[in-house]
């Protein structure tokens, strides 16, 4: 995770703003006030000393619009009470190189880890420019000046605001090697500061994708082929005659109905009989076929992902052998905000207002659908009402662009919940077969794993996304192999918070538990014995054991289960305390989490990410399942794709282990371990091993 932001890029992209900008506009009606972005790039300082820091990452709840400004503000010696932010697409001046920056995507839990050093440098450079400007104005030595709280003070106690100096500072060259603070002097980084976006969220003022308003805007509802891969057949635009719709147009795999109101558009769309041409093999596809195919795929060799030692020989001579098959279904993202995008296409230009995790992708598809040059395309990111990987895709952007182009007016596309549920890019269904050999008091001597499922990186090359968490193992095992078989069912699949780890950690951590059981050992001790060469992982495991008082559940009759996950350089261990009552009802009481994610910018946001990820992962573990029948998704809304509510939400307790290492990601790591932590606890409580998800498929009585 090396930072690739070169000095040159940094020089080009760091500028201080001109003075006199009104900063309130960054949050309110911002999408329509463009003067702002024309004059400044990464930060602006107004005459009244407010600092606005641009955030070129998608704010989807994970807190980048607070945490990234905190990094800049720290080095800038800004007055945090007068700092605000503005969302920008990761494009042009806001392009970030390195890691996910290459694609311009907000994902992979990389925003902080890729931007930590560049943003520190930017803040430090800006501070140095302000100090230099002050020194020049007052004709004093820069060393006699102190910058703090957005003021510069001379040794004589004379002082001036940053805002009063911004214009002069802006004319100075950007320093080559700005002096960074010693982390021991941090006063903003490391603090659990309030989020900058909350005040607008709680008043209903934040602009999400669904809330964008553009003069003369029309609305579109879409109807996409109910069967994957279907195309519109015999399209007759006159079918909207006699309705309130203003236009209907064909979009890839469906139609868009345009009206003066979304509700009208949706009503008409629902009433239309649209004739789809459906591929036969898809019409026949069901979850049962998919399951059979996965089983068959598992019997093929697949491609080798890893080989250590000689697992086959070691398995043959192992005194205890264990085998298990695990199965997970397709899952939907189900963000509370459905897919939505607003586009305004004219012959010369296109503007797109969109909740996206990839502004660069938005730009590319807009270009492809309009033929316009990128210099004529503006992408305005809005707040995302949840992303979880779904809003990396651009299907909904294409629809808005095509609709606006067709009607010559701005159009906002909104998907109904049913469209959202049935036209997702799903977390792929997978099966995995694991074999393990245990020696006499030597622990795991052989591990042989094979998984089968659709590939997120189809095309034959090494799919590190689909195999993340399956290999390498977090544990020391002398002989191991992992194979992956690529399956394909024509069901669209995509990035779902924690990607491959979302299923693979369930496979691996369930199987480690099974091996511990076969060895007659305590699951936590057994894991620790295979972590002797990894202090950080061991420390996390020991900490979580302490937090949960391992072996002594608080709730009478409850049982505990443990699981470990890695993501980038981050390590997380969870212990779930679970009861299964006589009627088979499962209750997850408390989830303890010990996390080592390197240095932390905002510990409260980190904890919130872990809490949210546990709920996200637990929803999937308990009830998440998208099933296919006749090539169609059966589920359509929250009644048949339920989410956890308050009554079933466990208490999540998180401890962040202190670390001097650089920050690593936290947005996803909380998801993968919760399913195995809970199923391992269910095993401890009932003796039933859950090998298929969701848990609701089982009856425990």
């Amino acid at each position: 995770m090396e930072i690739q932001l070169t000095r040159r890029t940094f020089l080009k992209t760091t500028t201080l703003g001109l003075t006199g900008l009104t900063l309130g506009c960054s949050i309110g009606p911002w999408p329509f006030d463009r003067k702002f972005s024309n004059v400044t790039v990464w930060l602006t300082i107004s005459e009244d000393n407010w600092i606005t820091i641009m955030v070129p990452k998608a704010e989807m709840g994970q807190g980048v619009s607070t945490a990234l400004p905190m990094i800049v503000a720290e080095e800038l010696e800004a007055d945090w009470t007068k700092v605000t932010f503005a969302l920008r697409g990761e494009l042009g001046d806001y392009s970030i190189s390195g890691a996910m920056g290459v694609s311009g995507i907000t994902g992979g839990s990389t925003s902080i880890s890729t931007m930590f050093e560049p943003l520190r440098e930017m803040g430090a450079a800006a501070k140095e420019m302000l100090v230099t400007a002050c020194a020049q104005r007052w004709q004093v030595e820069p060393e006699s000046l102190t910058a703090r709280n957005s003021f510069i003070t001379h040794s004589t106690m004379r002082s001036i605001t940053y805002g009063a100096l911004a214009e002069e500072a802006n004319l100075l060259p950007i320093p080559e090697n700005p002096q960074l603070k010693d982390p021991s002097a941090f006063s903003i980084i490391g603090q659990p500061l309030d989020r900058l976006d909350t005040p607008d969220h709680i008043e209903g003022r934040s602009v999400f994708g669904t809330d964008v308003k553009v003069p003369e805007m029309l609305y579109a509802a879409v109807r996409q082929s109910p069967v994957f891969g279907g195309q519109v057949a015999h399209f007759d635009p006159s079918i909207i005659e006699g309705t309130t719709a203003e236009a209907i147009l064909e979009i890839p795999g469906g139609v868009a109905v345009v009206a003066k109101s979304y509700w009208e558009a949706e009503k008409v769309a629902q009433s239309l009989e649209i004739d789809f041409h459906i591929p036969e093999e898809m019409e026949a596809l069901s979850s049962e076929d998919i399951s059979q195919q996965l089983t068959q795929d598992l019997s093929t060799p697949g491609s080798q992902v890893r080989l250590i030692g000689d697992p086959i020989a070691a398995m043959e001579s192992a005194p205890i052998k264990v085998e298990a098959l695990y199965v997970v279904p397709f899952l939907a993202h189900a963000a509370m905000e459905p897919m939505t995008c607003t586009a305004k296409v004219t012959p010369e230009s296109c503007e797109v207002w969109v909740p996206t995790q990839g502004a660069r992708i938005v730009q590319a598809v807009t270009r492809a659908n309009t033929g316009l040059d990128v210099s004529s395309i503006e992408v305005y990111p809005t707040h995302l009402g949840g992303g979880f990987g779904r809003k990396v895709e651009s299907d909904y952007v294409t629809q808005a662009v095509l609709a606006s182009k067709a009607v010559g007016k701005p159009v906002k596309v909104i998907w109904s919940r049913q469209e959202d549920m049935q036209h997702d890019y799903y977390r792929p269904a997978f099966k995995a077969e694991l074999k393990g050999g245990i020696g006499e008091s030597t622990g795991i001597v052989s591990w042989i794993g094979k998984s089968a499922g659709p590939s997120l990186m189809a095309g034959g090359f090494f799919d590190f996304m689909s195999t993340a968490g399956f290999s390498p193992l977090p544990y020391d095992v002398p002989n191991m192999s992992a194979h992956y078989v690529e399956s394909d069912f024509g069901v669209p699949i995509g990035w779902w918070r924690s990607i491959g780890s979302s299923q693979n950690v369930f496979f691996v951590e369930s199987f480690v538990d099974e091996l511990a059981g076969a060895a007659g050992e305590d699951p936590l001790t057994f894991r620790g014995e295979h972590l002797k060469n990894n202090e950080r992982r061991l420390a996390v495991l020991e900490r979580v054991a302490e937090m949960a008082n391992w072996g002594q559940p608080v709730v009478p009759g409850a049982a505990q289960g443990v699981a470990l996950a890695l993501h980038g350089a981050s390590v997380l261990a969870q212990i779930a305390e679970v009861s299964v009552d006589s009627g088979g009802e499962i209750r997850v009481h408390t989830v303890y989490c010990a996390l080592d994610c390197g240095g932390v910018v905002n510990p409260d946001i980190v904890e919130a990410q872990i809490e949210g990820a546990v709920i996200f992962g637990l929803t999937a573990a308990l009830y998440g399942e998208i099933t296919i029948e006749n090539g169609r998704v059966r589920q359509s809304n929250f009644h048949d794709y339920p989410l956890i509510t308050m009554i079933d939400a466990p208490l999540v307790k998180t401890t962040i282990i202190k670390s001097d290492a650089r920050p690593s990601g936290v947005g996803e790591i909380g998801v993968p371990p919760i399913a195995p932590a809970v199923t391992n606890a269910i095993f401890a409580a009932t003796g039933h091993r859950v090998r298929y998800l969701p848990i609701s498929l089982y009856e425990f009585s």
């Binding site: 704010e59 989807m60 709840g61 994970q62 807190g63 659990p192 309030d194 989020r195 976006d197 909350t198 005040p199 969220h201 709680i202 008043e203 209903g204 003022r205 934040s206 602009v207 999400f208 669904t210 809330d211 308003k213 609305y219 309130t244 109101s261 979304y262 509700w263 009208e264 189900a334 963000a335 509370m336 905000e337 459905p338 707040h383 009402g385 949840g386 992303g387 979880f388 909104i414 109904s416 919940r417 409260d604 919130a608 809490e611 949210g612 990820a613 546990v614 709920i615 996200f616 809304n637 929250f638 009644h639 989410l643 956890i644 509510t645 308050m646 009554i647 939400a649 208490l651 999540v652």
Partner: protein, 152 residues
């Protein structure tokens, strides 16, 4: 058809299909976008408003049925309890993406207006709104914080 509806203590006249749900009238015809759409079938609570003080989904209520009921939305939620709830939301750092939060705040204000000291069971029973970001435990602590303040 024309309807005159009372939203946040002000009358608005809208000319719409009588079947149009209040949610979309608020968002499209009155221009208040704080009330959110998510499921459209009365499950998720993102679209929660008060109708004569009672928390209700606005996605399933036809505008013709609003009649003389007083509608309160997140934008107009300024009652003493409403303000305390909003403050507690900041103090307990509840919000993540924020999309469900207007609905959650309406629901929590309704709960606390009728029960100044809700038990965990009361909270479970009333707070059925969905939050995909998983902010439930902080919602619970924010509600308890307001209750403590009310009862001081």
């Amino acid at each position: 058809m024309k309807f005159s509806i009372n939203v946040n203590r002000k009358f608005y006249t809208v000319d719409v299909d009588p079947q149009k749900p209040l949610l979309w009238v608020l968002r499209e015809d009155i221009g208040m976008c704080g009330t959110k759409y998510s499921c459209g079938i009365g499950i998720c609570g993102s679209c929660t408003v008060f109708l004569d003080g009672i928390a209700s989904p606005s996605c399933t209520l036809k505008v013709e049925s609003v009649g003389r009921m007083k509608v309160t939305t997140i934008e107009g939620l300024n009652s003493k309890i409403g303000r305390s709830v909003k403050e507690a939301w900041i103090e307990e750092k509840v919000s993540q993406c924020g999309y469900c939060q207007p609905g959650q705040i309406m629901k929590a204000t309704y709960l606390l207006s009728n029960n100044s000291d809700p038990s965990d069971e009361d909270i479970d029973e009333t707070m059925t709104n969905l939050c995909r970001c998983g902010t439930y435990q902080r919602i619970r602590s924010a509600i308890k914080k307001v209750a403590t303040n009310i009862n001081l």
